[in-house]
Symmetry: C2
Subunit: 703 residues, 2 copies
């Protein structure tokens, strides 16, 4: 930026007098953020190590960041300015770059995963790594694995996973793509019989993948055996053109995820060999005999879903941590409105409505982080158990991971946008990174199980548990508080005064609320089920989990799951921070702040759903008011630690790539510097001058 | 899309057997939407005329749509696929196209406004039309108007309005750009003394505008007279290059609004003539004497803000109408999950959680629409009054428009995203239009007064009104319900059973709630004000509206404004629909549906904030439950009218430009057709094959 011109000294003197008056009022954002850090009551670095698995991991990340910055594909300077095509090409280059770097430097898989998260540029290889290879590993026979996996690992082929169709997502049994077995040739004929059967959404399918695991309804001798998995080659390995009988392409722009070429696929009577069906479990013999999968297979595929959902919960915590890091640092250095003339302007974080938005989201980022760790740990224990045929923890794990996937992705998606809005005008710019974070994140509420549908699954689990308890059975795991339902339904909170809202009182309140919502949802569904004509097929304890009775109760069911999972997030945070302290990973000062955060998390949830606590008289009006008092007091108690709490997430400037989230607080310089990269600035007169503006504006040029 | 290959008849027969089984289950979306329309209990076309100002207007819109479609700049086929530069250039072309068409065909201003909303492509001329010309009209002297306006009207110059700076948005008094008067030359020296004084955000400033109305702090003889408006030329009219002393450019990509070149501007000791200051009100005489504006000027600038906010409310209604049109039509044709094998799958709109999201948003779109009409009408009456110096309705209008701007933009911004999520996976595609609608809309919660700040202004008005009432004065206008505050605070709802929730009962409940929140916010601020040391400067009725006492009360204040404006939206909708019916614009069947919508709007708000109605005992727990019962019953009652209710908004397919929102329901064909336009599909092998994929994938090419 240059506008140099000669200015005479008289003009300079004249203006300097005005300038001095302006400068009196200004405080630099860098000074502000230094002051913020000095106010912290705990050791942010120790907290950072505790949250991130130790000092070694943080140091390794730092090394990798330095290495990545220096690569052409890891450099992020142009990331905010790319067209969709550039995003697609550059994201692939980045994926390939990581792949090559791992090979050349013989790096660990963990380093590879870390690099992917640091570069943070999803592209056409996502489903090759995340779904195609895992599908072959889990559903392929040893021969199939030997055939396909080496080709996958050296990128001779690139795969994707094609399940979703134009007309079917959630309801997998409704898929319309057919795979008809032809005994005479021992082939399957893959076909897309309707427009709505067109495969739609698979990542990498548009322009990258050469192969796909295609889910299709298996037909043998006119009989429908339901969805099965087939490996289908869609593009030539020589010229990358679609093979005959294949119609494939990109589905067009999306809210975010521009680097990924989500694709469509229609097949026209496409013949593939019998060996193309993944036959580790179900099989089709040459003569057309169908061999069904062993019963444990259903459980195994549940296990995969659980893993994916646990991973989404873990990811939700880290994405929300990014958003609150950006917004909190900016709110600490942004000053707006002087209380009276001559006074310094107020830091935006000192307005109650800002801290009332941001600090609970910081607390939520911690709560979701701990839940991610816990669910992933549960999954790993289960994974060991199942090697010896032990599946007993699966229903609990499935219910918890489904509900928490829904709740945590809602918290994060909505949280990013709330963070963005606290940044005021500058939050609307892409340079701070929050719009892109939101655009790339929000599909998490839909994919891998639509959140509402997942909530219904968890609610069903809870209702069955409660009906079991009512019949004298014992509820276990996260539902075990339902064992006390009978007494709980008549309980009242005994808390007196704002100071009474300790961790135990908050936890009791949240569990009471979940118990009551479970009881009323059960009663509602029992009543609706009775009146539903002829509904008995899947009745359990007088409950019909389908049809109009169920469809007209879903609001209460979703509400129940939210309340249940919120209580779980809170109690899990309490036990996680206690464990961190007992193991010496954090000291007493860190524990104290974490306990405040856990309380703020619970209080904020309760405050936002106060009606649920008042409706049955569990809370009095005075207790409701004291919840707000305690919450407001906590906001002030936590205020000095705000910046240190987001520092403790340890997210590098390289990862944030944000003009407002930078560690040093120099936000305005960053905005101005980054804006220079805007493609519109590549010429001084701009891209419309010669073609649009000049012909109209300069009249004599027309004469 | 073509994948033609020869298929032998045996294969065809084999596959046809599978296909027939698939086809049994499918229902076409076109049939679904026809069936939906036939279920309506009211006349959607009559409703459409009533909402849109009559049959003539709808017919004129249709004519304009046909004309626009045929122009190169009004055609929307490529709209979803543009790069930022293309968006900028094409949006300008569209603006110029409308301008020229109006001139050539001697069209009315109203036609021009209509065309702008139909083309719906904000670009670099927004602030020329919306701010530069109006500023000169309202703040320029007759001579200045004669000089500038003809140049504006024939686009010899293009202007913008530069107020916001990197460091200052909301707090206008804090602007840092200086305009120092130089008596000796009778010039102002415009200067950007700090990094944070860089003008930032003005639309069109980046690469389009040649001139800007610049807000700068006026200094004369070292004295600061605060912000004043100056016309500054920033670019040459010959070659469009920035003039000496000017640094100007594009601020980079934003969440949305890619067609607009929001810009930055820094000035280095830039001399402009004394006549460049807009001097209709304040003046600087040649000798440096400052002539302050007459007192009515402040009121006039309030009036401009009121107009802008009223316009935003009106716009909020039409944007939300678009979102619910898309989502409701799609939810009516999307089917997912068969209740049991062999049965048709359920329309997504028949899941309670979907209708519980969508139908209240349909209701909100109606409520916001009516509020937009009302506020605009109030503004127009005020505008007539002020010509004769009558400003008495301004405080009420200012408070109402501020709070409603905040509330209605929140409803719409959050509503678009909720609509998007009900569309499941396809909602994430840009082709249905909801992502872009959200991206282009959300800055409305921030600009023209940040919503939180506006809520505080309305809250201050309400608190002053309540303190006035407590002192025996009469509250007027929208605050007049506060006259009954003393009695209201002890009131209980007398409603029995779900059927008791008629319009009057709902309105009483909402006003009771707002009264109680006003009383508790007043008490809270009075108490905080007492303890705030030395705070007395602006105390009114023991209330200090600034400093820590105020900053630590903002959550309660914002909550109060929301409750107040919700009650206003509801009561305004009731009176608006009564008026429509009395004037014969709608019949009894239409009125009945509108009344149901008004009730649903109120019930949904109350249900979401139930704690506020239970805390003081106004509701019992049983009444809370009956609110939900009534709400659920209404969802079922309104369900058959869902599609007709969005049809009645009368939004053309051309305007929606949405694969899922189309009138004919043919959503899957549209998705597939529109996807063909994706730039990634311009070659079969895709843009990464030769440069990225082939070198790695095809091994022999490396040997």
């Amino acid at each position: 930026m240059s506008m140099s011109q000669r200015v005479d000294s008289r003009t300079r003197d004249l203006v300097d007098k005005s300038t001095r008056q302006i400068l009196k009022a200004s405080i630099s954002p860098q000074d502000d953020i230094i002051a913020e850090r000095s106010r912290a009551t705990f050791d942010a670095l120790q907290m950072c190590y505790a949250l991130n698995g130790g000092k070694d991991k943080i140091q390794r990340r730092a090394q990798l960041v330095e290495a990545l910055k220096r690569t052409s594909w890891g450099n992020k300077e142009r990331r905010h300015f790319m067209t969709r095509e550039e995003e697609y090409v550059e994201a692939l280059r980045a994926s390939f770059g990581i792949w090559e770097k791992m090979k050349q430097e013989k790096m660990s898989l963990e380093d590879g995963v870390t690099m992917r998260s640091l570069v943070d540029f999803p592209g056409g290889l996502e489903l090759h790594i995340g779904m195609f290879i895992p599908s072959i590993l889990s559903q392929g026979t040893p021969e199939q694995q030997q055939h396909w996996l080496p080709l996958c690992y050296d990128l001779s082929i690139i795969g994707t996973y094609a399940q979703t169709e134009l007309g079917h997502g959630t309801f997998v049994r409704g898929l319309e793509t057919t795979a008809t077995y032809d005994k005479t040739t021992q082939e399957f004929v893959l076909h897309s019989p309707t427009l709505t059967s067109t495969k739609w959404w698979p990542g990498g399918l548009g322009k990258t993948a050469t192969h796909a695991v295609v889910m299709a309804r298996l037909f043998i001798d006119g009989k429908d055996y339901g969805p099965h998995a087939f490996v289908v080659q869609v593009r030539s390995l020589q010229d990358h053109l679609p093979l005959p009988g294949i119609c494939v392409g990109d589905i067009g722009p999306k809210f975010g995820y521009g680097g990924v070429d989500n694709g469509y696929l229609a097949m026209d009577h496409l013949r593939i060999s019998r060996e193309s069906m993944l036959m580790r479990y179900s099989k089709v013999l040459p003569d057309g005999t169908y061999v069904p999968p062993p019963p444990s297979n259903a459980k195994a595929s549940y296990a995969t879903m659980v893993y994916v959902r646990a991973d989404i919960v873990k990811n939700a915590g880290s994405v929300l941590a990014k958003a609150v890091t950006i917004a909190t640092r900016y709110a600490a250095v942004r000053r707006q409105t002087a209380p009276s003339p001559g006074q310094p302007e107020t830091q935006v974080l000192d307005y109650q409505n800002t801290s009332h938005t941001l600090l609970p989201l910081v607390a939520a980022a911690y709560a979701v982080h701990f839940m991610g760790e816990t669910i992933m740990g549960m999954y790993k224990r289960f994974d060991k158990d199942r090697e010896r045929g032990e599946f007993s923890s699966l229903p609990e794990l499935h219910a918890l991971s489904s509900g928490c996937k829904a709740l945590c992705t809602w918290i994060t998606a909505d949280g990013i946008e709330s963070c963005r809005r606290t940044c005021g005008g500058h939050g609307y710019s892409k340079l701070p990174g929050l719009p892109t974070l939101f655009q790339n994140y929000v599909q998490n509420v839909t994919w891998e199980g639509d959140n509402n549908v997942l909530c219904l699954q968890t609610a069903r689990y809870l209702l069955k548990a409660l009906v079991g308890v009512q019949r004298g059975q014992q509820a276990t795991g996260s539902a075990s508080y339902l064992n006390h339902a009978a007494a709980e339904l008549h309980a009242k909170s005994a808390v007196q005064g704002a100071s009474g809202w300790n961790a135990h009182a908050l936890q009791s309140a949240m569990r009471h609320c979940a118990t009551r919502l479970a009881a009323s949802a059960t009663a509602m569904l029992q009543s609706a089920s009775r009146s539903a004509a002829g509904a008995s097929s899947r009745a359990a304890g007088g409950l019909v989990f389908e049809g109009p009775a169920w469809n007209n109760s879903t609001v209460a069911m979703i509400k129940l799951t939210r309340a249940h999972c919120m209580a779980e997030l809170h109690s899990n945070m309490l036990s996680s921070i206690t464990a961190l302290h007992s193991s010496g990973k954090v000291g007493g000062r860190e524990l104290a702040v974490l306990q405040q955060l856990a309380s703020l998390f619970a209080l904020t949830h309760i405050e936002a759903h106060m009606g649920d606590y008042l409706e049955d008289g569990y809370f009095t009006g005075a207790q409701a008011a004291s919840i707000r008092q305690r919450q407001n007091a906590l906001l002030l108690e936590l205020r000095p630690n705000a910046v240190a709490l987001v520092d403790a997430f340890g997210i590098e400037d390289y990862v944030l790539n944000s003009a407002l989230g930078r560690q040093d607080g120099d936000v305005y310089t960053a905005l101005l510097d980054m804006a220079q990269g805007s493609p519109l600035n590549s010429s001084q007169e701009g891209p419309a001058w010669h073609t649009v503006l000049k012909p109209v504006m300069v009249k004599h040029s027309k004469m």
